[in-house]
Subunit: 341 residues, 2 copies
């Protein structure tokens, strides 16, 4: 293993030719540059023999491109994000790109710091679940010609490509499903947030409720508290305060998990006491007894559109930086919701 880092220079010296020639051949420009076949073969064979690997750092420094895309999400340990991460990664590799992941924890400061760091490493593009405070940062990314594409939520005041789902429509439909099932008092459990996806989900619920002549009943988790048990207790208090609730619609799956725990502590039965529906499917919902109806986001499609979008931007710098993709969700009917006869 005398793997003493072979450089393009070493090759040139060993073969008694110039660096330029080696570079051209390595980069598959033999034809274009009209290098003789014999020379090409000579170099290619030698490269293969010594196992030469280009130093990507140097390539990036020189070319300004790194073939790296940053995948910056709220929390990489959240299954929704890590599943997309996995799919993105796969697609990226197939296209010669690497992915760097990082979690912002919805902390604008941290996000800005991360973006700055990666800009200084010449990454080519960013896939981001933005916080509102990121607007100007993202704007400058775009003006500096980085690829940028948002997902999960977006920033209305910003012209920037994104891939999101039909939050409002699906929540409208989900609420209506509960209403048509015969539920009279449907509570919506969400987190206090001014992010578009959460606002849209809430608004979908509210519209459906009002259209059908009912009154909205919303519980908002004050902040994204890390102490989960606490949230469960709050939900429990909320349910105690409103004895007439007959259905609960959760805006995210982790809220639903809290809720399920609360129901259990209270000795409540699903779906007899409460019909339950959650946004954002999770494989546990199928396993739980009773299984929980949910609105599933098209993870595979999201990943696909994201990669398509960013690769397009990266291959064509004149690409429209304002390609808005909105994908439909899928309602998954399980045992926690049913038509009351």
């Amino acid at each position: 293993m005398t793997n003493k880092k072979i450089s393009i220079k070493d090759i040139a010296k060993a073969l008694g030719i110039s660096i330029t020639t080696v570079s051209f051949i390595i980069n598959g420009k033999s034809k274009e540059k009209r290098i003789s076949e014999s020379m090409t073969k000579l170099v290619e064979d030698y490269v293969a023999k010594v196992g030469y690997r280009p130093n990507h750092l140097a390539q990036s420094l020189r070319s300004g491109k790194s073939k790296v895309i940053v995948f910056m999400v709220e929390d990489i340990s959240n299954s929704f994000f890590s599943n997309i991460a996995r799919l993105i990664e796969e697609k990226a590799y197939r296209n010669g790109y690497k992915i760097i992941y990082c979690s912002t924890e919805n902390d604008t400061e941290k996000a800005i710091e991360l973006i700055t760091t990666f800009k200084n490493r010449n990454v080519d593009g960013f896939i981001i679940t933005p916080t509102l405070g990121l607007e100007s940062e993202i704007k400058s990314l775009i003006s500096e010609n980085f690829g940028v594409i948002l997902f999960d939520r977006w920033i209305p005041s910003l012209e920037c490509s994104h891939v999101i789902v039909e939050n409002e429509k699906s929540c409208y439909d989900g609420t209506e499903h509960l209403i048509l099932n015969g539920c009279k008092r449907i509570a919506f459990v969400t987190v206090e947030s001014n992010q578009t996806q959460m606002k849209d989900r809430l608004s979908g619920y509210q519209k459906a409720i009002v259209v059908h002549g009912y009154r909205p009943l919303v519980f908002e988790e004050p902040f994204h508290t890390p102490s989960e048990a606490f949230v469960g207790d709050q939900i429990m208090d909320f349910l105690h305060m409103h004895k007439d609730i007959d259905a609960v619609f959760f805006a995210t799956n982790y809220l639903a998990f809290e809720g399920l725990q609360a129901f259990r502590k209270m000795g409540k039965q699903i779906p007899e006491d409460y019909q339950v529906l959650s946004f954002d499917d999770h494989f546990f919902f199928g396993l739980y007894q009773p299984s929980i109806s949910a609105i599933a986001q098209p993870i595979e499609l999201i990943a696909e559109r994201l990669m398509e979008g960013i690769l397009h931007q990266l291959s064509d710098l004149e690409a429209i930086q304002n390609n808005k993709v909105v994908l439909p969700n899928k309602f998954i009917q399980r045992k926690s919701t049913f038509r009351i006869e």
Copy 2:
């Protein structure tokens, strides 16, 4: 926003001084190099004013160090790995390091390709869940002075630092727990694998069974099949074939999820028909009804030891590259296992 990428050269020119001086000051070597205070202040103020950011790529190219650590796991969408990822990332940032994640899918080919790629990007270290085929690749990483630390499993024939858990002991204890509970016919459900962690778990089970005078009964998932439903069916067949089974010990949580589905399809009750225990806790186990007893790995500690280990290696190249850390797990008693009176 005239952010036209300011370089150290621009600063030198603007201030009419040399690049060297600027570099020294930026790197906090004013004192050491005895730069005058006035000059230092001049430069520092200018740097702050124009918002200069060093190009990490160029730094890396020159210094050979990048302050990047690769976190290469089997599957980043697996909650065990993504939770550790999250913790690692946090610790890394606190120490000025960035983390690059990637999934090997237990594919040695892919892993080697990834390692090669990252070597060519001058990353400083690797945290890896290795496959056996990676032995020589890892050996050469070590000889090339990269920081390397394995976790989850290790390679016995290789001298390399690692952080693992007491797989054998915990599975021995877990099995004994079931035996002491009064179970007579305990099945062990695992995957066919020659990775150390899986072998150790199996062996812990077998030893306890034999010590107590019973016969082992093992179901091995033939391969890591992606079609999960299939696995559940196989488990079901297995259970049908052995009517006397009264407890099932799952070697991983995803196998347990399959098993739970199988139990449900078969109309079996936990813990009346089967006592159930799973290696590798999951928050869902606490939520499921009945809640499932599990052996929890100390995620937080694992992340901590990993970072300590690799940072130590990176700060001191003479560090012993053979620091083996073995952490204890925690048995979590829930409703799926109980002492038969």
